[in-house]
């Protein structure tokens, strides 16, 4: 077992122990005891975490290949949600859809993912590619600029008013009751979100592990110059990576809209920050790490809202980020950077 793998296993064991201890405390000793309440919050956290995971995947992919923190990613997610809303409105709206609901939802996802993907392509081409060989700070500033540009463009195009997906009216207010009518409730929307996130993540893992493109991606993330010398079209691979990462963000945007209804031009900022936190906690550059980080952030936020106060969840989430950075700077599943001596 390599040193990096050993560290990852240790991290996972540590995490498992912490989660077990927390579970025991929450269920038996907290002010609100009981398995039902704990499991309900856990399910809520997994649903929320699935969305964060999709955002985190985009951050991780781009960082893995370019060592760039794409701070515009949260706003690509925001644009994706607006594209999905546009499709929903064009096809009749949540109360009177012109086509079967399943087809409508599929259209929303496909169009939003394509739209966000192409937006990601454009961002990469015009805001990042010219700065690829510039000092690291330059593309970072460019990313921030793109973020503000997208936010204000959305404000100009769509206005300041919130838009409402009315996802529950579109799909259903019903769901699955686990353990009877007073047991844990999982809405059908929640099931769609979790299964969508799992499918997309599996597709991404398959893309990275078992395709030529994935191999090229991994080669470039290891050594861009060497990959270019081996004949890999680095520009095309990087652009495609942005496309895929942005498409995932677009999917996350539609999921958010369906589940939480309201979308607005500033929604990308906090979600992007949490997606970034998830990517860093999981290990930036690692795809499984991004998924794990996303789920963790969602769970922590849900548990904090449930066991503490509504205004403490952000405190706890970002406190966790600081804690993980202090104990394991490369993240739970990240690989410590090699240093030449």
């Amino acid at each position: 077992m390599s040193s990096a793998t050993r560290q990852q296993v240790t991290s996972l064991w540590g995490l498992a122990l912490l989660l077990a201890a927390w579970t025991v405390y929450a269920v038996y000793f907290s002010p609100t005891t009981g398995w039902t309440f704990f499991l309900q919050l856990t399910v809520n956290g997994i649903i929320l975490g699935s969305i964060y995971a999709l955002i985190a995947l985009g951050y991780s992919m781009v960082y893995g290949i370019l060592k760039l923190l794409n701070f515009a990613h949260g706003d690509v997610y925001m644009i994706g949600s607006f594209i999905g809303f546009g499709v929903l409105t064009l096809l009749g709206g949540p109360l009177n859809p012109a086509i079967p609901v399943a087809l409508l939802v599929l259209c929303m996802f496909v169009v939003a993912m394509l739209g966000s993907g192409f937006l990601g392509l454009a961002i990469e081409r015009f805001a990042y590619r010219p700065l690829r060989d510039a000092p690291r700070i330059a593309p970072l500033i460019s990313a921030l600029g793109v973020a503000f540009f997208l936010e204000n463009s959305a404000l100009l195009l769509f206005g300041a008013s919130y838009r409402n997906y009315d996802g529950f009216d579109l799909i259903s207010y019903n769901g699955i009751h686990l353990g009877g009518s007073t047991g844990v409730f999982v809405s059908y929307l929640g099931v769609i979100v979790i299964s969508g996130a799992v499918l997309l993540t599996l597709a991404l893992i398959a893309l990275v592990r078992w395709t030529q493109f994935g191999k090229a991606m991994r080669a470039i993330s290891f050594d861009r110059e060497a990959a270019a010398m081996m004949g890999i079209d680095t520009d095309r691979v990087i652009a495609t990576t942005f496309f895929v990462g942005s498409a995932l963000a677009g999917a996350a945007g539609v999921m958010f809209g369906l589940l939480f209804s309201q979308i607005y031009h500033l929604m990308g900022f906090l979600a992007g920050l949490k997606g970034f936190t998830a990517a860093v906690v999981g290990g930036i550059g690692s795809i499984p790490g991004a998924m794990l980080g996303g789920l963790l952030v969602g769970l922590v936020e849900s548990w904090a809202q449930g066991y503490l106060n509504g205004n403490d969840s952000e405190l706890v989430v970002f406190g966790i980020l600081i804690g993980v950075m202090l104990i394991r700077p490369s993240g739970l599943l990240g690989t410590p950077a090699l240093q030449k001596v």
């Binding site: 529950f168 449930g306 106060n309």
Partner: protein, 395 residues
């Protein structure tokens, strides 16, 4: 090197263009705010007022309602033949309520140093009023809010003394909390109420007020809060016991309440009724049928109200309605001050204080006490959301 030169030339050219554009635009006369406080301004055929509201930001939805109502008044005023020689021009000030009160202060300073601005409608939030009072006072500007309801704004000592400068065309939270608590206990006969604030001063003040009255009357209450930037309320909802009868949500931003209500319903707790405050008065946006809301009163039969609803595709945007009256008061005061062709900001403030509207779209006459509060019978009404999304007054 060549790229750097090209970029530098481009930047210089852009700067020259920008400077030319700015220089040629008619910029308002800027002067020290303090000297403008006492300066006499020539009124002319066009008089200027400022509208301070959240045009952008998380509360832009309600802010733009206020702007539209205020500008609706100005449009109607300017359209009258009798006002052809005394038209009103509006200067916008984006306070970005919900982001940082520093924007409200910036707007106040900007208005104060604009010699043409004689009075101000806004700002929207109580916290903005507190933050920007000093700037308005320094500039001698009177300002009328159509939504800042914190009780202590007009008591003359807490959070500063702004008497003679600040007025409001809404009742304060001291009137709202008893109306809400009375309705819950006497009409609805609730015994268990869950109270959730949104961490803002307005919301916490109302939540505290209602909770205190309910507790004194033997009602069981539980208190929680949400972060208005977050849209996932599932965990907060999981904490609410199913045997509670009502949830009090004194928030700003109706979309938030709509999302909360939908998630409540999806969690199988739709039988627990929601009760909102004036910040949620948005027919067509918050449309959870059966929910209650306390809000500013208005006269739905008034032809002006009907004209606004018609002009805005059936959406009354009634949160902004008091700003129409605020604009009416400011414009009236400016017009009276300008009767002799010139005016000072002090004169405008004096005439604001002396305002006596025999009738208004609020449904009652409008005049102000020395504190800046409206005289009675200003109070809050209770509305219930109907199945078609409209708000019906029931109390």
């Amino acid at each position: 090197m060549k790229k750097v030169m090209v970029a530098a030339v481009f930047a210089v050219a852009l700067s020259i263009l920008a400077a030319t554009a700015l220089g040629s635009a008619k910029a308002p006369a800027r002067a020290k705010a303090s000297s403008l406080a006492t300066a006499t301004v020539k009124c002319g055929a066009t008089r200027t007022i400022g509208i301070a509201a959240p045009y952008t930001g998380p509360d832009a939805d309600i802010g733009n309602q206020q702007v539209r109502w205020a500008k609706f008044f100005v449009k109607r005023w300017n359209a009258q033949k009798a006002n052809s020689h005394r038209k009103i021009k509006v200067v916008n000030g984006d306070t970005q309520l919900g982001v940082d009160t520093a924007f409200a202060v910036q707007v106040a300073k900007s208005f104060a140093s604009n010699s043409k601005v004689l009075g101000v409608v806004g700002p929207a939030g109580s916290q903005e009023v507190i933050a920007s009072t000093s700037a308005y006072k320094k500039g001698g500007l009177g300002f009328i809010s159509g939504s800042a309801t914190k009780v202590t704004l007009t008591d003359g000592h807490t959070d500063g003394n702004r008497r003679g400068y600040f007025f409001r065309t809404v009742p304060n939270d001291g009137a709202q909390a008893p109306v809400v608590a009375n309705w819950m206990t006497k009409k609805l006969k609730w015994k268990r109420v869950y109270i959730i604030d949104d961490q803002e001063a307005y919301s916490q003040g109302l939540a505290d007020g209602v909770q205190k009255i309910l507790n004194n009357r033997g009602v069981t209450t539980k208190r929680d809060s949400i972060d208005p930037k977050v849209s996932d309320f599932s965990s907060t909802i999981a904490k609410i016991p199913s045997n509670y009868q009502g949830i009090y949500i004194p928030w700003q931003g109706a979309p938030l309440a709509q999302t909360f209500g939908q998630q409540l319903q999806a969690a199988g707790k739709g039988h627990i009724k929601l009760f909102g405050s004036d910040g949620l008065f948005a027919p067509g946006v918050w449309k959870i049928a059966g929910s209650y809301d306390s809000a500013f009163p208005y006269d739905p039969t008034n032809p002006i109200v009907k004209a606004y609803v018609k002009a805005h595709k059936g959406n009354g945007e009634f949160f902004g309605l008091p700003s129409y009256v605020a604009a009416q008061v400011v414009v009236g005061a400016v017009t009276r001050a300008c009767a002799d062709g010139k005016a000072t900001r002090a004169e405008v403030r004096k005439y604001i204080g002396k305002t006596k509207l025999k009738s208004s779209i609020l449904g009652f006459p409008v005049s102000f006490a020395k504190s800046g509060e409206m005289h009675a019978p200003a109070t809050f009404g209770v509305f219930q959301i109907q199945k078609n999304g409209s708000f019906k007054r029931i109390g």
